[in-house]
């Protein structure tokens, strides 16, 4: 059997047409190509640009174990009842030591595995900070090109640093569980700001009502911009509260056609670029070889011979020089 180079222009064109026609294997391969920056990834992304924009993208974030995956499972069930097609990107953390990862989110979504209207992909953060992975923006576009009505993005559950999803998603669901003071604390320290819908999950447990009123109190203290935030309660494990949540989500999908809705969806590219550049600089600094110019800069900084701001500017310049040098 003769093999054509999978990164070649012809191979990418074939993959794109299979992707656009809804072939599952093509979607899976295209995601891998873009996720890993394989040959042909840029050409693939360029080719799908005219076919983007159908899907409504929802970020789903919150502390570990709060029920993000279980809520996605319940939301898939509800949206499928309404005839919607759903794509899921579920991110789990990579081990900083080995680089490996156990991707377990879809254990909770097992009942949808055989449904042709649902596509779930598990991804590892691979050292990227911010709750997603470095190439998330492109992978969301690939999923969008395959035609689902909704894309659900489950972040790594740190509860604090997932602010980047607010630029990738049309709306963000922030989950918390009742009666855990820590959760409220985590939400206070950052992610409350990105919530379009605050979900108090595990409403079957005591103190859900207290948590709701605490959150409403916190929202009341914030600026007028926060006034559009909804607070809902769910029991993801039984599906309780899901119809009301799905109603809110469908309203957000309809709103995307308003000018404000369109603006919101267009910030992702800027965020993706800033992230990718930041990751690149970080990797170069952390992996610089002994007595390379970057290593020498780090030594000077460690000895206090150069100030942080100046050293950072110098680092960016050195990284750029290295790229020119075509390593």
């Amino acid at each position: 059997m003769t093999r054509i180079d999978p990164g070649s222009a012809e191979a990418v064109a074939v993959l794109v047409s299979r992707l656009l026609s809804g072939e599952t294997r093509a979607l899976a391969k295209a995601i891998t190509k873009v996720e890993c920056g394989e040959a042909g990834a840029a050409a693939l992304l360029a080719a799908i640009q005219p076919h983007l924009g159908h899907a409504t993208v929802l970020g789903i974030t919150g502390p570990p174990g709060v029920g993000k995956s279980t809520l996605i499972d319940a939301l898939i069930a509800e949206l499928r009842c309404r005839g919607k097609r759903v794509g899921v990107l579920a991110v789990d953390p990579s081990s900083p030591v080995s680089g490996g990862a156990i991707l377990g989110d879809r254990v909770r979504m097992a009942r949808h595995t055989g449904d042709a209207g649902v596509f779930v992909r598990s991804l590892a953060s691979r050292g990227h900070l911010g709750g997603l992975f470095r190439t998330a923006w492109g992978v969301i576009q690939v999923m969008d090109a395959a035609g689902p009505d909704y894309i659900l993005l489950e972040t790594v559950g740190t509860g604090q640093s997932e602010v980047e999803i607010c630029d990738y998603a049309h709306a963000n669901l922030v989950l918390c569980a009742p009666g855990l003071g820590d959760d409220i604390q985590a939400i206070k320290s950052g992610i409350l700001e990105i919530a379009d819908i605050l979900v108090v999950n595990k409403a079957d447990q005591p103190n859900a009502a207290t948590t709701v009123s605490q959150l409403q109190g916190m929202l009341g203290l914030r600026s007028a911009a926060a006034s559009g935030v909804s607070v809902v309660t769910t029991t993801a494990s039984t599906g309780e509260g899901l119809p009301a949540l799905a109603d809110l989500i469908e309203a957000i999908a309809r709103d995307r056609t308003t000018p404000a809705g369109r603006r919101r969806g267009s910030r992702g590219a800027r965020r993706a670029l800033a992230n990718a550049a930041g990751d690149r600089v970080r990797e170069r600094a952390l992996q610089a070889e002994d007595s390379s110019p970057i290593d020498a800069l780090c030594e000077r900084f460690a000895r206090g011979e150069i100030a942080l701001d100046a050293a950072a500017a110098e680092l960016v310049r050195l990284v750029a020089d290295g790229e020119d040098g075509g390593e």
Binding site: T24, R25, C36, G99, G100, L103, V107, A110, R126, L286
Partner: protein, 142 residues
């Protein structure tokens, strides 16, 4: 810090699962942790998968290797899985079986295309090295 995923390639991606009726998944959890600690990305699903589900999981996740853990007679379903993978255009994926497989039945599995059968007591190194080698081959022939 080793970060093979950041070099343009990707770490080996392995689906660790159980088919059939046996629900003991302790062995597969241990293997999943071995593979993670060796730098691989492991999609973990828990027990009781059907053949159709394993094919769908492998398809959506674009894995290089499927590891099936079998304690009872679940491995007897594996030849059906091999057929179903081929039909789905996933013949490049390497399938390994681990657990209690009687010697007399190993041939049945390898004849069906199973790449490797691990017996109880297989060492961590043996598991990790075999699977990472199979993953590299599967990637090259995808």
């Amino acid at each position: 810090m080793s970060s093979p995923g950041l070099q343009g390639g990707r770490p080996a991606k392995v689906l660790v699962t159980k088919i059939g009726f046996d629900g003991h998944d302790r062995g597969s959890r241990i293997v999943a942790a071995f593979l993670r600690d060796a730098g691989m990305e492991v999609v973990y699903t828990g027990p009781w998968q059907t053949v159709e589900n394993v094919v769908n999981l492998a398809l959506q996740e674009d894995v290089d290797v499927i590891g099936i853990s079998s304690l009872a007679t679940d491995h007897l379903i594996v030849p059906k899985l091999m057929e179903a993978l081929k039909t789905a255009g996933l013949g490049h994926i390497a399938v390994v079986v681990g657990g209690i497989v009687p010697d007399s039945e190993v041939g049945l599995l390898t004849d069906a295309g199973v790449a490797y059968v691990f017996h109880p007591g297989a060492s961590r190194d043996q598991i990790v090295n075999t699977i990472s080698g199979l993953a590299a081959n599967a990637r090259a022939s995808a």
